[in-house]
């Protein structure tokens, strides 16, 4: 008896969820957007979500969609929380979702096994499981344009080309969670082959704003370079602490989640010299970004607080996430001849993606990023990153694209992918010729 109210309630929701207008009409395609505009990492989640939505809306406004089919972007708030993310996934996958960008390592890990079952690809752009770059084992997962491991190898190459890395001490400060720990196996491997030593400094998720001890330890260990795998409030705190202990900031490199405008806003001039890896262009000087300003922001259809936020690192990265997905839709439309595609078509589209410099220019993004060329076995594309430096008020590109050490990383990726699949007897991979 007791549960009847509950059941009525649940039935109400069931009914409600059926009533929600489902964007499966013939003239549109459904693109879910997992956002985290709330929670401890909201600072990074907000501009990313804005860039993502604005690009699709720009295509709708400017071109009337992709090949005449409008894209419906539907945001679902995850607050960077795995349970909520999974719930978002389950509640939207039935709407004809073409691809998911989970935007959290935890959610990505939860969704990877679901992707082949539901036939919806996961596009974790430069995050999530590095091993997912191995297309043979992970047909439904894509990490364009580079995995964390490739990125780390590029950063190490940068260090090597700036005074050599042999016999140096590299400090690695990281968020003590799945995300931050992800590149450690490669770091350990490369420290042997490249001949440097490593000191690790974990920062607890709850201690992000309280890094005094870690930086005291840095002072004790005296590393030559620092590499940071940080996120959210951890980044500005770390840069401030580094400045406090007089660590030379031009020897402190963040990964691509530790090098946005939002991170440095709180640091300002004190962060001058700080370096970060990046794979997406900065600023508004791209025709595509200008189109967003004209067709979306100026019409008041964007959620950005001010037009100045457009072109920020994370905004542009969110936009690039949408660019890759939009391009995959086009490829899939070409391949299948259909205008409205399915998740499975989308997967084929993502796999056959080929964003050459030429194509990027056509899209209004000349020189925005390195080439991204996927294949059946390669789900991370080119994998090149560049290094940018904080001038005290803005980011400045200070290096050319640095190619990763594919020869070292690739075998490790494949090994990790094998390990992942090994205890899953019914796992479906694919064979690439």
């Amino acid at each position: 008896m007791s549960k009847t109210t509950l059941f009525t309630l649940a039935a109400g929701v069931l009914a409600a969820s059926c009533l929600v207008p489902v964007a499966q009409a013939q003239d549109s395609m459904y693109m879910p957007s997992m956002t985290y505009r709330t929670g401890p990492f909201a600072g990074g989640g907000t501009p990313f979500a804005d860039g993502y939505a604005d690009y699709f809306n720009m295509l709708n406004e400017r071109d009337g969609g992709i090949n005449g089919v409008k894209i419906v972007v539907d945001e679902c708030e995850t607050a960077y929380n795995t349970q909520k993310g999974v719930e978002c996934y389950e509640s939207t996958k039935g709407n004809g979702a073409l691809a998911y960008s989970p935007l959290s390592t935890g959610i990505t890990l939860a969704l990877i096994p679901k992707a082949p079952v539901d036939e919806i690809p996961i596009f974790s752009m430069g995050y999530g499981l590095s091993a997912a770059a191995a297309g043979e084992q992970f047909p439904w997962t894509f990490v364009y344009p580079a995995s964390y491991w490739n990125q780390l190898s590029s950063i190490l190459k940068y260090i090597d080309s700036n005074g050599g890395i042999k016999d140096k001490k590299i400090g690695f400060i990281y968020l003590d969670a799945g995300y931050g720990k992800e590149p450690i196996p490669l770091l350990d491997q490369l420290s042997e082959s490249m001949g440097f030593s490593v000191a690790k400094f974990p920062v607890g998720v709850k201690e992000m704003q309280n890094q005094g001890s870690q930086w005291l330890n840095v002072r004790k260990e005296r590393p030559d370079w620092m590499i940071m795998w940080g996120w959210g409030a951890m980044n500005p705190t770390a840069i401030k602490e580094a400045a406090k202990i007089r660590f030379p900031l031009d020897r402190f490199i963040g990964n691509w989640w530790a090098g946005s405008h939002n991170d440095l806003k709180a640091v300002g001039a004190a962060g001058k010299g700080y370096l970060a890896a990046n794979f997406s262009g900065i600023g508004q000087d791209y025709p595509a970004v200008q189109d967003i300003l004209t067709h979306v922001v100026e019409k008041g259809m964007s959620k950005v607080a001010s037009a100045d936020d457009v072109g920020n690192v994370l905004y542009n990265r969110g936009m690039f996430n949408a660019v890759v997905l939009a391009e995959a839709i086009r490829v899939a439309q070409d391949k299948t001849g259909k205008s409205v595609i399915t998740g499975a078509d989308m997967r084929d589209g993502l796999e056959a993606i080929n964003l050459t410099e030429e194509r990027l220019t056509e899209l209004g993004l000349p020189g925005f990023t390195g080439e991204v060329k996927g294949s059946c076995s390669d789900h991370e594309g080119g994998g090149s990153v560049f290094i940018q430096q904080w001038t005290g008020s803005d980011w400045e590109k200070v290096s050319d694209l640095i190619a990763p050490m594919t020869d070292v990383v690739r075998p490790m990726l494949e090994e990790a992918a094998e390990a992942y699949v090994s205890d899953k007897p019914d796992w479906k991979g694919q064979t690439c010729s």
Partner: protein
């Protein structure tokens, strides 16, 4: 044997070998401790006067700082923004007293605690709705707070003092002194102490409990704003700070729930203790021990001296 050496001997050798570094560690711990103390102070004020264990103190710190920063972002001059934020905290105090506390008089303390957990959710929701969830830089310079640092050359090395940290310590001392004067010299302060000693007796001599509660909540609102400014200046103002505020609970166990000096000493002990433990012993445990050090220390403390350093001995009456 080696383990015993690395626990009992090696860290101390290291401390003596690099005394400048040791001093730096203690100073950093001291500064963190000052901030823990400030949060704990907010707890103590409210607990003393109303018996409410205010779980929302941490979120009040974030809320106050966010209000300040957001008002300034809207174009309000810094000092006016401080006043307005104080006004907001005052309204909040009156609101909480009217809508929550008044209705929960004489309830079990666990119920009161859970009510403040509910309050935490409300403040979190309202705060993000009104001010936005993304982290914001503190307006350190606009408030006239010092930046920069001073080096102290000692023992063939240097100890670096950030001016903002020194300011935080000074302000904390001033605030504790001001509270001391407030409690001992003013009429309201004396009334507060009377209430803390005995609710019934205070009522019988004509002290309005409602008024007193609103005042202590406002007072801890002020403490929250100051804490928020100081902490925000060290990193930034964000909701991530809320979890760190929980450490103040451990501080309270050490210091006793009703003692202002206890909150200060407890905060400093935890601040310095966890830094020393993390820097000199942390590596043995795989580091990151700061996450639990305060709580485990509190737990051990509870087993041996449950009333805290300065608390009164609890005698159970039948």
């Amino acid at each position: 044997m080696e383990l015993i050496h690395s626990i009992l001997v090696a860290p101390f050798i290291e401390m003596v070998a690099y005394p400048d570094f040791f001093l730096q560690v203690v100073w950093e711990g001291f500064v963190a401790g000052v901030l823990y103390s400030l949060i704990a102070l907010g707890f103590v004020l409210i607990y003393k006067a109303s018996g409410v264990f205010n779980f929302a103190q941490g979120i009040m710190v974030v809320f106050a700082a966010l209000a300040l920063v957001s008002l300034h972002a809207m174009g309000v001059p810094a000092w006016l923004a401080v006043l307005l934020s104080l006004g907001i905290m005052g309204l909040l105090a009156v609101g909480i007293e009217r809508l929550v506390l008044r209705k929960l008089v004489n309830q079990h303390d666990a119920i009161l605690l859970m009510a403040t957990i509910g309050l935490t959710l409300v403040l979190k929701g309202v705060g993000q709705l009104v001010f936005g969830g993304e982290p914001k830089p503190m307006i350190t310079e606009q408030l006239g707070l010092p930046t920069g640092s001073t080096d102290w050359e000692v023992f063939d090395g240097i100890v670096i003092f950030q001016h903002i940290d020194i300011a935080a310590a000074v302000i904390a001392v001033l605030m504790v002194m001001a509270l001391g004067v407030f409690f001992s010299k003013t009429r309201i302060g004396r009334a507060l102490r009377a209430v803390a000693d005995d609710h019934q007796a205070a009522l019988s001599v004509g002290i309005s409990l409602h008024q007193i509660w609103a005042i202590v909540w406002f007072a801890s609102g002020i403490v929250a704003l100051v804490t928020g400014i100081m902490w925000g200046a060290r990193s930034e103002v964000s909701f991530a700070l809320e979890i760190i505020a929980l450490k103040a609970l451990a501080v309270l166990i050490l210091g006793g729930f009703t003692s202002i000096p206890g909150a200060i000493v407890g905060g400093l002990m935890i601040g310095v203790g966890e830094k020393l433990f993390e820097v000199y012993w942390g590596a043995l445990f795989g580091s990151g021990v700061e996450a639990w050090f305060a709580y485990v220390l509190a737990l051990i403390f509870l087993l041996f001296r449950p009333q805290g350093l300065f608390g009164e001995r609890i005698i159970e009456r039948v």
